[in-house]
């Protein structure tokens, strides 16, 4: 089991290094500190979403609603700033909204037992609907200057603020998963939820917290996105949903649950970010990015499953040509 996981991370690291070498050969401006920092800036928003998604997928769940939660958060922040005039209160309310959305998913999944993909397919539309109703479908852009710091500001010279936030959250999530009893329970639930029940894990409680955690991560991501684009809009997080799931899977988290690391997810997210940034520098059409992201996902998994493919081809040849 550990051997399989290691081999996937190794393949992914090799793939990632290859990608960096190719990009820096093709474009001299790729391997500069400024550009690499801007890559980390671009990956933070969906990287933070992917942290929540990773924890969920480890429990063998899935969350399609993270983008809608991010979008709803942006609206809640902007509107509650309009009412209260306090930015801190607005941001806290936004994150609370994210946590509540996560709890809504969590209750349906953990307490009632509805499959995660169905719940979040529904709440993806539902949360987006709430955001649209609240904002009457409009973008809100009367936000104060200080609000832009998180998405557009820099610390320690030229390190983007959201890069630091992503780094801190990634380390925290990684510690949470690997060093706390809660983390061990998350893996236990994903490995075998029946066995987890018999060994005294309160599966419903673990799942509930996992979805709340993802809700909070989505809210933080939404906060950063709206700060970067200086507006709040219901559809702001939507593009990142499939990307964050794909990056998590690319990073070696098993979609069937039980295994996965934050380190892997960060590399998965980096691969997508480097692809997007590098292709942009070389001047390749942005349309090619979709294509290459999809290909990267499939190719890495094909390499990962190469022994299965070999076996199947051998059987096929034996059946048809002997």
């Amino acid at each position: 089991m550990i051997g399989i996981k290691r081999s996937h991370e190794l393949i992914l690291l090799l793939f990632f290094s290859g990608l960096i070498i190719i990009m820096s050969l093709l474009s001299p401006s790729f391997l500069t500190i400024d550009n690499l920092l801007s890559v980390t800036q671009q990956m933070s928003e969906f990287g933070i979403l992917a942290l929540g998604v990773t924890v969920i997928i480890i429990t063998s769940g899935i969350d399609l609603s993270v983008g809608s939660i991010a979008g709803l958060t942006t609206i809640v922040i902007a509107m509650s700033y309009g009412w209260s005039g306090s930015l801190v209160a607005a941001i806290l309310l936004g994150i609370l909204a994210g946590a509540l959305c996560g709890a809504f998913n969590g209750v349906l999944i953990a307490k009632i037992g509805v499959p995660p993909i169905l719940v979040t397919l529904g709440t993806m539309t539902f949360f987006n609907g709430i955001a649209l109703v609240l904002s009457k479908g409009n973008a809100i852009s009367d936000l104060p200057e200080e609000f832009y710091f998180v998405g557009q500001g820099y610390l320690f010279g030229n390190v983007p603020v959201q890069t630091l936030i992503f780094l801190v959250l990634a380390i925290l999530t990684s510690l949470l998963l690997s060093k706390t009893p809660w983390g061990r329970r998350v893996y236990a639930v994903g490995n075998n939820s029946v066995a987890a029940v018999f060994s005294g894990v309160q599966v419903d409680k673990v799942l509930l917290y996992v979805y709340i955690f993802a809700g909070i991560m989505s809210a933080i991501s939404g906060w950063i996105i709206s700060s970067r684009v200086s507006t709040a809009r219901a559809d702001l997080g939507a593009v990142y949903v499939m990307q964050s799931i794909a990056a998590t899977v690319l990073g070696g988290t098993n979609i069937a649950g039980g295994s996965g690391t934050i380190f892997g997810t960060v590399i998965g997210v980096s691969v997508f970010a480097v692809l997007a940034n590098g292709l942009n520098l070389i001047g390749v059409s942005p349309f090619a990015q979709n294509l290459l992201m999809g290909l990267a996902l499939i190719v890495v998994l094909l390499i990962n499953n190469v022994s299965i493919i070999k076996r199947k081809i051998a059987i096929f040849i034996k059946l048809n040509f002997n």
């Binding site: 899935i62 349906l108 009632i112 037992g113 509805v114 499959p115 993909i117 169905l118 719940v119 397919l121 529904g122 709440t123 993806m124 539309t125 539902f126 949360f127 987006n128 609907g129 709430i130 649209l132 109703v133 009457k136 479908g137 499939m242 799931i245 794909a246 899977v249 979609i255 069937a256 059409s285 349309f287 090619a288 990015q289 979709n290 294509l291 290459l292 992201m293 999809g294 290909l295 996902l297 499939i298 998994l301 094909l302 499953n305 299965i308 493919i309 199947k312």
Partner: protein
């Protein structure tokens, strides 16, 4: 098992009726023949693709690439329709073949490399859309010839062609599921893949078939898509996969595989279509639509789980009672 399925469809049908009655009480225009026809006509593409998705979900698979497939096939159909000398048959062939190729690619990756369906189709969703955008450079296909666009409005023996196509698709899919070995294999595979392969079902072939069939139906739907809109956007069908999956799931198919019926999925399509139509007719601001659709989906799937659990508990009670009657210890 059959009774159970029938009951599930009956519940969804009642839900459809209740929604329809509520809407028709508020707005008299709802229950007019022309409006009912327009609900059907506006959801033909959804219904055709829902037939394929039902089979995919019955095998416990999922296909999130169908929106991209729809756009891909529609653009190719449009480009072929623009070539002088092409006719309905060439268009039909191009649509179906390109759909089958895309679907089969999914099937091969899922069955051959044992990568989970959701992961494969997540990847191919991006690959199909990306290559399509790259190929068209984001340009729309416009100025489609009249013989092609009239396909949507022409009637044969008083029945519009899209409805005839839908009926054919339903008929063929029904035949496959009810009267062929393949159909039984599809349900068997979804019910329990290990047992299915032990009784000699070639599970890989069945998987490849359902994804290819999904592609073929998407190809057919793409022909109607271009004919309906007369221009084709390379972004056509973006996030349409979620509508298709929602319809099938509202209709009662189990994402864990093994159960799901064509009739249920058609009712699911109608529920979505009626809701959408009703919201417009009742002049509710359009941004309420997602709230209503989302809540419908959540309610349907939650009720399903609660009902199933009750049934299982009842079964358990009966089992215990029989044990006691037989003198066994519990």
């Amino acid at each position: 098992m059959n009774d159970l399925l029938k009951k599930r469809e009956f519940v969804m049908f009642m839900m459809l009726m209740v929604i329809s009655i509520c809407i028709s009480l508020i707005t008299p225009t709802f229950l007019t023949p022309s409006n009912l026809l327009s609900i059907v006509m506006n959801n033909i593409i959804l219904a055709i693709m829902a037939m394929g998705m039902t089979l995919v979900i019955v095998t416990s698979g999922i296909d999130v690439s169908v929106g991209s497939q729809l756009g891909f096939a529609a653009i190719f159909v449009g480009l072929v329709a623009l070539i002088p000398g092409s006719n309905i048959l060439t268009v039909l062939a191009v649509g179906i073949v390109s759909g089958i190729v895309l679907g089969l690619l999914n099937g091969i990756l899922i069955a051959g490399a044992e990568i989970p369906a959701i992961v494969v189709t997540l990847g191919t969703m991006n690959i199909f859309r990306g290559s399509l955008l790259l190929y068209t450079n984001g340009k729309w296909v416009t100025a489609l010839p009249a013989w092609y666009t009239s396909l949507y409005n022409t009637s044969v023996m008083g029945i519009p062609i899209p409805i005839i196509i839908l009926l054919l698709v339903i008929g063929v899919t029904y035949f496959i599921t009810q009267h062929t070995r393949l159909g039984r294999s599809i349900y068997a595979l979804g019910g329990n893949p290990a047992i299915a392969s032990r009784v000699g079902i070639n599970t890989g072939m069945v998987t490849m078939f359902v994804f290819a069939y999904m592609g073929a139906l998407t190809g057919i739907a793409s022909i109607l898509y271009g004919a309906q809109l007369a221009t084709i956007d390379p972004n056509a069908g973006t996030s349409f996969e979620l509508m298709v999956i929602s319809a099938v799931v509202i209709g009662g198919a189990n994402v864990l595989g093994g159960s799901g019926s064509l009739l249920g999925s058609l009712i699911g399509v109608l529920i979505l279509g009626v809701l959408q139509n009703g919201i417009i007719l009742m002049r509710i601001e359009p941004y309420w639509q997602n709230v209503v659709v989302g809540l419908t989906l959540i309610t349907a799937v939650t009720l399903d789980v609660v009902n199933n659990r009750k049934k299982e508990e009842r079964k358990k009670v009966i089992y215990v009672a029989e044990e006691v009657k037989a003198g066994g210890s519990v």
